[in-house]
């Protein structure tokens, strides 16, 4: 299971404030904590800073890499900020988040992926908008996979995001994504599937419960990467447990190792 730690995002107030005062130590500490909690990648998103996004991206990437050795997920729709982040990423291969099926965005991002040999998140939206049905998602997914692999990107480097929408405004928002995951996996067994979970619970109370339930359901359908808060111990517990229950954790190695490190177990943490 691939976990992308989501906390370094300037839409979160503590991050925005630390960026404003160029507090590299705070950024480093959030990076370290997420890595220690089991993140495979760290997301870096500063797209809320409109005018200086590329400059802030470079600053964040440099400082995160001084603190941790895991690769980064450069998260921006803006090609200039993507270039700034991805060109500096030197801890393993970065994940570019994201390309879409939209003509202009695809054309602007593709050369960067190739130049820096990056992995890529492909959002299943195109010029026709946000997909509603599983079939819409499959259509955009197919198009993205074909265009990316035709351009020379390895299918194993593609992480498709089926685009979660809010259950509060559409009863079938969850089930369409679950069906889409199955259809995409059937057609492209080697492609990865990734998502953030919070969209699904927008507008409803106790959002964490819905996010957790949907992580478990999507994992059972074939999702193998999540953008989430690795410091959320309940979520991480469900993640390791689900992985083991799906037969993806030989000898329950990850489940037990995370248990010993106290990543989800309350008693263990209190003893520390």
């Amino acid at each position: 299971m691939i976990i992308v730690g989501e906390l370094i995002n300037t839409s979160r107030k503590p991050i925005l404030e630390s960026v404003a005062r160029r507090d590299a130590e705070y950024i480093a500490s959030i990076a370290r904590r997420q890595a220690e909690a089991g993140a495979s990648y760290l997301d870096v998103n500063c797209s809320s800073i409109l005018d200086k996004e590329a400059e802030v991206m470079a600053w964040l990437v440099e400082n995160i890499q001084k603190a941790v050795d895991i690769p980064l997920c450069i998260d921006t729709p803006n090609p200039a900020a993507m270039a700034a982040g991805i060109s500096l990423a030197r801890k393993g291969r970065p994940l570019a988040n994201s390309i879409t099926g939209e003509k202009d965005r695809f054309a602007a991002m593709l050369p960067l992926l190739l130049q820096y040999h990056a992995r890529v998140t492909g959002l299943c939206t195109d010029d026709q908008g946000i997909p509603e049905t599983a079939a819409d998602r499959l259509r955009v997914a197919r198009d993205l996979v074909h265009r990316l692999t035709d351009a020379g990107i390895d299918i194993d480097d593609i992480y498709l995001d089926p685009v979660l929408t809010s259950l509060s405004t559409n009863n079938t928002a969850g089930v369409e994504v679950l069906t889409a995951i199955r259809l995409i996996k059937e057609e492209f067994p080697k492609v990865h599937l990734i998502c953030g979970l919070s969209n699904v619970s927008y507008g409803l109370p106790s959002r964490k419960v819905l996010n957790q339930a949907f992580m478990i359901q999507t994992m059972a359908a074939g999702m193998d990467a999540y953008i989430l808060d690795p410091l959320d111990r309940t979520m991480m517990g469900f993640l390791y447990a689900s992985q083991a229950l799906l037969g993806q954790d030989q000898y329950c190695r990850n489940y037990l190792s995370a248990y010993r490190r106290g990543l989800y177990n309350e008693e263990q943490r209190q003893q520390k």
Binding site: S47, G129, T165, S166, T169
Partner: protein
């Protein structure tokens, strides 16, 4: 006997059968269709909006209430004809700016505006500035509402406001802006007249702008 209070309750609890029955009963008892709309259906929706604001109700329930209200309107609309406009408090032209295809936030705000007595002309998503200008000329709304959900598209809002000025329409319409990345200070910086952080407050702000 059926009452407006009961009809309001039917809207709040999103009881479709009850609302349709009560509308028919109220009509049979000789009530004015416009009164049934204003004092029953719209008044019920206004309470729903308040309950959403206080956290007692949630978006799916608001959608269910709006659906039921629409069922009631289906019965009443043919009876009131063009007199319907007499109960509207104002007209809003609403669109999501160019480059942005988000629709749901706009739909929820539209629904609450309609429940609050506005007539809403939804001109869609990914709307270029020129199309906003055309719609303002054609519809002559009280308010032009702009939605954007992306940090990369909110600068388009400023362009729409500039286009209004260039077309000499800026003083003919109030401009409201909203969407996740929009803030009050951003709204001020681009010269918008109104901003609200959520759908319920958007209705309140829209009413204030009419004064």
């Amino acid at each position: 006997m059926a009452s407006y209070e009961e009809l309001q309750q039917g809207v709040i609890t999103a009881d479709e059968g009850k609302v349709e029955d009560l509308v028919r009963q109220l009509l049979a008892a000789g009530n004015n269709p416009l009164d049934i709309i204003a004092r029953g259906l719209t008044a019920g929706m206004a309470i729903v909006g308040q309950k959403m604001k206080t956290g007692e109700m949630f978006i799916p329930e608001v959608l269910a209430s709006a659906h039921v209200m629409a069922k009631g309107m289906d019965i009443l609309k043919p009876l009131v004809g063009d007199k319907l406009s007499s109960i509207y408090i104002g007209k809003v032209v609403f669109g999501t700016v160019q480059g942005d295809i988000h629709n749901i936030g706009k739909k929820i705000v539209s629904m609450l505006l309609e429940s609050g007595g506005f007539v809403v002309i939804d001109i869609g998503v990914d709307v270029p500035a020129a199309k906003f200008i055309e719609a303002v000329k054609r519809e002559q709304p009280d308010i032009l509402a702009l939605s954007a959900l992306l940090t990369t598209t909110i600068p388009r809002m400023k362009e729409v406001i500039q286009a209004l000025s260039s077309a000499n329409l800026r003083d003919r319409v109030r401009v409201m802006v909203g969407g996740a990345p929009v803030t009050q200070s951003f709204a001020d910086s681009i010269g918008a007249d109104g901003y609200a952080p959520d759908a319920v407050l958007a209705l309140e702000r829209a009413k204030q702008l009419l004064d």
